[in-house]
C-alpha cells in the first residue's frame, strides 16, 4: 500500500564549478498521505528547499539526484519525461513561492497571471477562464475581484501578492501543494490569515500540503505531522502534537523551547532566550557521526563516531539519536 507521495532515500549533491561538491540531502525518506499537511522544520542550509525542488524535479543543472525514488500517486517521478513533468507541474503539484514579489511578472496584471496557468493546463474558453479566475480570487479572500484582476503586482501589498500566488497555485486544484516559507516575508497578522487560508484549501479540496518553515510555531494548529531536518537529514518525525509536547531529538527540543519562549511567556523581563550554541556544520565537510553533535548539550561518545540509526519508538514516530533505541 503506497502512500500518495513517497520519497525514498533521496540523495542530492550540488557540484559547483569551483569548490567542493556539497551533499544537500543525505538519504531523506518522507511520505505524505492525500489531504495531509506535513511540515518540514529546519534552518537555512538544511536541505528543505532542495527537497521541495526535487519534488517538482526542478533542481538546478548543477545538482544531481544520486540515489532515491520519488513517486507521486504511484508514478515514479524519476522516470517521467520533461513533457510529462510539465503536465504535472502547476496542475497536480504546485508551489507557493517564498517571495511572491519576485515570482510574479511585474508587467502582467494579477488576473492574467492566474489565467495563464489555466490556459496551460485546462481546455477552457476565455470567458470560462475569466470566471474561474474571479472565483479563485474570491476563494483566496478578495472581496472585489474585478479590481484585483486588473491590478499590477506593484499596486498590491505583500499579503495581497501572496494571495495571488496562492490563487495561481490552486487554480487547477492540485493534489499536492508545496509552500516554501509561505509567510516569512509577511507581517504577523497576515501570517495567521495565510495559514487559515491554506487550512481552508485543504478542507475544501482535500489538497495535501507540504509546508516548509524554520519556525515551529507556524505548524501549531496547522500541520498534521512534522519532519525535522538538520544538515541534509531528517532527524525526527512525529505528529504535530507529539513534536511539541514530547520532542525527542535535542535539536527539536531546542527549537521548540525557543519558539515557546518568544510566544507563550511574553514577559516584560529582559532575560536571555534559550539558544543553541554554534552554527550548522560546513556543508563541504560534515561531521562523520551525528551532524548535530558539535552543538548538542547531551552528546555522548558514540555521537562523533557514527550516525545514529533511525529508531521508531512508537507508530508514526521516528528519531535518529543515540539517546533512544538499543
Amino acid at each position: 500500500m503506497a502512500n500518495f507521495v513517497q520519497i525514498r532515500d533521496l540523495k542530492v549533491t550540488y557540484a559547483p564549478e569551483t569548490g567542493a561538491p556539497v551533499r544537500a540531502l543525505e538519504g531523506v525518506s518522507l511520505e505524505i498521505a492525500r489531504g495531509e499537511i506535513v511540515g518540514i522544520l529546519g534552518e537555512s542550509g538544511c536541505g528543505k528547499s532542495t527537497l521541495a525542488s526535487a519534488l517538482l524535479r526542478l533542481l538546478p543543472p548543477h545538482a544531481t539526484c544520486e540515489a532515491g525514488t520519488i513517486s507521486i500517486d504511484g508514478r515514479d517521478l524519476m522516470q517521467l519525461s520533461e513533457r510529462d513533468l510539465r503536465a504535472i507541474r502547476g496542475k497536480e503539484v504546485s508551489m507557493i513561492p517564498q517571495d511572491p514579489a519576485l515570482s510574479l511578472n511585474p508587467v502582467m496584471t494579477a488576473g492574467s497571471q492566474i489565467s495563464e496557468v489555466l490556459r496551460a493546463h485546462l481546455p477552457l474558453t476565455a470567458k470560462q477562464r475569466r470566471e474561474r479566475v474571479m472565483e479563485l480570487l474570491r476563494e483566496v479572500g478578495f472581496d472585489s475581484p474585478e479590481e484585483i484582476y486588473a491590478a499590477y503586482p506593484h499596486q498590491l501589498s505583500g499579503g495581497q501578492r501572496q494571495r495571488i500566488a496562492i490563487a495561481q497555485a490552486i487554480s487547477c486544484v492540485p493534489a499536492l501543494l508545496i509552500a516554501d516559507e509561505p509567510t516569512s516575508k509577511l507581517d504577523a497578522s497576515l501570517q495567521t490569515e495565510i495559514v487559515a487560508l491554506l487550512s481552508r484549501i485543504r478542507q475544501q479540496h482535500g489538497t495535501a500540503i507540504l509546508v516548509i518553515s524554520h519556525d515551529p510555531s507556524l505548524f501549531a494548529g496547522f500541520a498534521d505531522r512534522i519532519a525535522v531536518m538538520y544538515a541534509g537529514r531528517i532527524v525526527e518525525v512525529g505528529s504535530t502534537a507529539a513534536i511539541f509536547r514530547k520532542s525527542l531529538h535535542p535539536y527539536t527540543q531546542a527549537l521548540v523551547s525557543i519558539a515557546a519562549s518568544t510566544l507563550v511567556s511574553a514577559t516584560d523581563t529582559k532575560a536571555p532566550l534559550p539558544a543553541i550554541a554554534g552554527e550548522s556544520p560546513d556543508p563541504t565537510c560534515v561531521p562523520l557521526g551525528c551532524r548535530f553533535e558539535p552543538r548538542c548539550a547531551e552528546r555522548m561518545e558514540a555521537c562523533s563516531i557514527r550516525y545514529p540509526a533511525e529508531f521508531i519508538p512508537e507508530p508514526a514516530r521516528l528519531v535518529s539519536c543515540f539517546k533512544y533505541g538499543e
Binding site: 534552518e43 516569512s184 504577523a188 511539541f244 511574553a266 514577559t267 516584560d268
Partner: protein
C-alpha cells in the same frame, strides 16, 4: 538657545529625544505627484542604557523614523536631540561627531557590506571614514582592537583575514554589530536586525544584544514587526500605524493592557500563535 518645549530640562537622563518628527515623501509620476506623510508628528525619548522598540506593520513609518534618527534622511519638521543637541537639520560637517555616537544595523547584513572585504576591512571601515573626515588621514584599526571586537560579538578572531563570502547569515549579522561597535557608539539603531534569520540564530543575536547592552550601557532603538520577540528585549514599546505613534508604554503595559486598535491587532496575532502553540503543547496532558 532655541525656545523648544523640550529644551527646558537639560538634566534629563534621556540620550535620545525625538520631538514632533515629520517626514513626507513625494511619489508617483512627474505629472501626478502625490505627497505621502511617512511619519507624522512622532515624539518619544529613550533613557540612557534602555531599549525602545518601535513596532508596526510594514508601511507604518517605523523605518523612516530610524532613518531620520540616524540622519540618513533629513526630517521635514521636528527635533532629534542627542544629549540635548538638536541634530535634525545640522549640516554634514557638524553631524560627523554624532555619526560616531549613533550607529545603525540593517536587516540584511550581507548586502550592507562590500562582498570583497575581509572581516577586518569591514570592521575598520567606519574608523577609516571617521578619521579621514576629522584629521584628513587614515588611522587603521589595530589588530588587537579588531580581535577584541570580534571576540565581543562571538566570532573567532582567527577569521579576521577571511573574506566575508565565507560567513553565514548569522555570522555576518555579528560582523555588522562589530562594525557598529568600532566607533564605541552610545546609540544603536537596529532596523529589523533580527528578521530574516533562522530561529536559533535569531535567539543567539537577541542574546548578544542583551549582553552588549549590559556590558557597555548601550541605548537601543529597535525597529521590528515582531511584537513577541521585541517584548523580550525592550523596556518600552511604541506602536506605529499610518505614520503616527499611536501608543507608547512599558513592555508590560503594551503586552497586557493595550488601548489602541493597532496595538490590539498586533497583540492578537501574537496571542493566536501563542494559544495555538500552548494548545498543541497541552494536548493530552489536560
Amino acid at each position: 538657545m532655541h525656545n523648544s518645549p523640550t529644551n527646558s530640562t537639560d538634566e534629563t537622563p534621556s540620550l535620545l529625544r525625538v520631538h514632533g518628527l515629520s517626514k513626507r515623501y513625494v511619489r508617483g509620476a512627474l505629472w501626478r505627484r502625490v505627497t505621502v506623510a511617512a511619519v507624522n508628528c512622532v515624539s518619544f525619548e529613550i533613557p540612557r542604557g534602555q531599549t525602545l522598540a518601535l513596532v508596526g506593520e510594514s508601511g507604518s513609518g517605523k523605518s523612516t523614523v530610524a532613518r531620520c534618527v540616524t540622519r540618513l534622511e533629513r526630517p521635514d519638521t521636528g527635533q532629534i536631540l542627542i544629549d540635548g543637541t538638536d541634530i535634525s537639520s545640522i549640516d554634514s560637517r557638524a553631524l560627523a561627531p554624532f555619526r560616531a555616537r549613533i550607529q545603525m544595523v540593517f536587516q540584511d547584513a550581507g548586502t550592507a557590506m562590500n562582498p570583497r572585504f575581509t572581516a577586518l576591512e569591514v570592521i575598520e571601515e567606519p574608523l577609516l571614514i571617521q578619521s579621514k573626515s576629522r584629521t584628513g588621514n587614515n588611522r587603521p584599526l589595530s589588530h588587537d582592537a579588531a580581535r577584541d571586537l570580534m571576540q565581543e560579538v562571538g566570532l573567532t578572531p582567527d577569521w579576521m583575514h577571511r573574506s566575508i563570502r565565507h560567513f553565514s547569515g548569522g555570522q555576518r549579522q555579528r560582523l555588522a554589530l562589530a562594525r557598529a561597535l568600532t566607533l564605541r557608539p552610545q546609540l544603536l539603531v537596529l532596523d529589523e536586525t533580527l528578521s530574516g534569520l533562522d530561529l536559533s540564530t535569531q535567539a543567539q543575536i537577541a542574546n548578544l544584544l542583551l549582553d552588549l547592552q549590559a556590558r557597555h550601557g548601550l541605548t537601543y532603538l529597535l525597529i521590528s514587526h515582531d511584537l513577541a520577540l521585541v517584548s523580550r528585549l525592550a523596556d518600552t514599546i511604541g506602536v506605529m500605524s499610518s505614520g503616527q505613534l499611536v501608543e507608547i508604554g512599558s513592555t508590560r503595559q503594551i503586552t497586557s493592557n493595550p488601548t489602541h486598535a493597532a496595538t490590539k491587532k498586533l497583540l492578537a496575532s501574537v496571542q493566536t500563535a501563542a494559544s495555538n502553540l500552548s494548545t498543541v503543547m497541552m494536548m493530552g496532558t489536560a
